[in-house]
């Protein structure tokens, strides 16, 4: 797919993020927006997944370890055809299937339930291990937050994956530099991220995570790396695409009000038109 096509999809995902959180009156737009290019590339270019056969045992797997970014994940799944895009308007509503955090029992296309930070990555390691046991050539992708990697469990998972040389596993760290209480460097710095993973026997790649050429090259490099798992440290901008959310820690877990919603949708509409 051409970058321009990916950009058009990303624009729709961004709208989905704003629409769903607005109607839910809650949810997490910031980290969903920073990861939009990653969601787009994974679901529309990289991964073998089929919305008509969501449980295909040979499909690639994806775990949203930073489960609070379900709005971005769900928008990508909807556009891919797993469920109607209009359902996003009922995100987090009582008795509706689109749960606040990814729910593999209820939401088509979700491979693993998540929401408690640090746990998804271990499940991804388990999926990669199962793939090796079953001699299948599917790949496993997990997306983590840069605050999330403060959890000790992330490093237990990394140690295992490195020790077992799980080269069918790609971790992506959404390095938007912000968590809830502030900049990750101020709260409890996990930097340097690449050197840590290197020490845990990972192949590490640093990229601009909002740039398709760099994402494309990194995914290819990960696929071609043998004998060790790969981590892609994707530098991104939290809230990207909505001017007042960009790099603003306050937009981590808050929905727009009516007025903000109009401004955000207007900006995204214009950005979409510019891509036509």
């Amino acid at each position: 797919m051409e970058n321009i096509e990916l950009q058009r999809i990303a624009n729709k995902i961004r709208k989905g993020i704003i629409i769903s959180t607005f109607h839910a009156k809650s949810g997490h737009p910031g980290g969903s927006l920073s990861a939009t290019e990653i969601f787009t590339y994974l679901f529309f270019e990289e991964m073998k997944v089929d919305p008509k056969n969501p449980h295909d045992p040979d499909r690639d797997r994806f775990v949203l370890s930073k489960g609070h970014c379900a709005p971005g994940y769900y928008a990508a799944l909807a556009l891919k055809g797993f469920f109607p895009f209009s359902d996003l308007e009922q995100l987090r509503h009582t008795d509706f299937y689109l749960q606040g955090h990814p729910d593999m029992k209820m939401v088509p296309g979700v491979d693993m339930s998540s929401g408690s930070l640090g746990q998804g990555v271990s499940a991804a390691v388990g999926m990669a291990l199962a793939g090796r046991l079953d001699k299948k050539d599917y790949r496993v992708y997990a997306l983590l937050g840069d605050g999330e990697i403060e959890e000790g469990q992330v490093w237990e998972a990394a140690m295992f994956a490195g020790a077992r040389k799980l080269d069918n596993l790609t971790l992506i760290i959404d390095n938007n530099n912000l968590q809830i209480d502030g900049a990750i460097g101020d709260v409890c710095s996990p930097y340097p991220i690449d050197k840590k993973f290197e020490a845990f026997n990972f192949h590490t790649i640093n990229i601009d995570g909002n740039d398709y050429d760099e994402i494309r090259a990194a995914m290819k490099e990960a696929r071609e790396t043998k004998g060790m798992p790969t981590v892609i440290i994707a530098k991104t901008i939290k809230g990207l695409g909505v001017s007042f959310m960009e790099n603003e820690v306050g937009w981590h877990g808050k929905a727009t009000n009516e007025e903000e919603y109009k401004i955000a949708m207007d900006e995204l509409e214009k950005a979409g038109e510019a891509l036509e």
Partner: protein, 318 residues
């Protein structure tokens, strides 16, 4: 001491009271320190953090480590108040709390906000419905679940005086304050809110006001319910419960928690040997929570006034 910042009749969440009381304790006692795990705005430990940045430690998203660090600080004479969501600071770090805090009986206070179903939209992964159960099973641990912000404020201040580990179960959701500054929180004591001889409603935490309202309306329908607020779940007020069991013969327990292991179980354990009577437990049944606005979820699980009235009537007719 009377710096009660909460007024009867106004709305606030118990987490707000935790934040204000923690700040007050910080002003009074230099050995009080606070820790959080990237949720200081939500848990309200940020009030303390802003005034005492040198005594506040953000551990990042690392709740297990936070529990261990708190244990170490307490072993050196500090009084750490560590805060996060109930799910992550009773569940995620359960074994650290058990072995590094409860077992050595260290003086750590756990401020667990966003407990129960009223976390709302975040859904099942964040709705901790087992923390009363997990925490009250631990020797040395005290478990407190206040019913409104004023009671919470008093309970947090009292927790400082209690030697050893204390678990404070707090809510995100704002409710109307029913206590005033004259109220005295006492560990191990329940509070009789209304007298009655037909049955006793024992409630804890957020559903307490709805329980009282339900009982007041049932009064007009000829059902005379005694209502007990039980903020101290461990130790529980055994004496008050046995008296109620003997005098009213029936008990309904109400909590924003799974009906296994929580207040209902604690009440059963308290009365089973001395006054075994018929007990109906209201709470969340054996299912995980789900996303939705807090008030809608309370209705869905029958923990609002109407739901409580219906369950009590059914119970009285059975």
């Amino acid at each position: 001491m009377s710096n009660m910042p909460f007024e009867i009749g106004k709305k606030a969440a118990t987490r707000d009271a935790y934040g204000k009381a923690l700040l007050e304790l910080g002003r009074l006692h230099p050995e009080v320190v606070a820790l959080d795990a990237d949720l200081s705005g939500s848990t309200r430990s940020e009030y303390f953090a802003k005034e005492f940045p040198d005594r506040f430690f953000d551990c990042g998203i690392a709740e297990a480590n936070m529990a261990g660090i708190s244990a170490g600080l307490a072993s050196c004479g500090k009084i750490p108040f560590m805060s996060s969501f109930a799910m992550f600071t009773s569940g995620r770090n359960y074994e650290q709390i058990r072995n590094s805090i409860a077992y050595p009986a260290l003086n750590v206070k756990i401020g667990a906000s966003h407990a129960g179903i009223t976390v709302g939209e975040d859904g099942a992964t964040h709705q901790c419905l087992e923390d009363i159960s997990l925490m009250r099973t631990l020797p040395n641990m005290k478990v407190i679940c206040p019913s409104d912000a004023a009671e919470a404020y008093k309970a947090v201040i009292a927790a400082y005086e209690i030697e050893g580990p204390v678990y404070l179960r707090l809510s995100r959701f704002s409710t109307v304050i029913a206590h005033d500054d004259s109220y005295e929180f006492r560990l191990g004591k329940g509070e009789v809110l209304k007298d009655g001889g037909d049955l006793t409603i024992v409630a804890t935490g957020l559903p307490v006001p709805a329980s009282l309202e339900a009982a007041n309306e049932l009064e007009k329908e000829g059902i005379h319910a005694r209502v007990i607020n039980m903020p101290s779940i461990k130790p529980i007020d055994k004496e008050l419960l046995i008296k109620a069991a003997l005098e009213t013969k029936r008990i309904v327990t109400i909590e924003e928690h799974w009906i296994t292991g929580g207040l209902g179980s604690a009440v059963l354990e308290a009365i089973s040997e001395d006054a075994p009577v018929w007990v109906k437990r209201l709470g969340i049944p054996d299912v995980f929570g789900e996303s939705g606005p807090a008030a809608e979820l309370l209705t869905k699980f029958g923990l609002d006034k109407e739901g409580i009235k219906k369950s009590v009537k059914d119970f009285m007719n059975s």
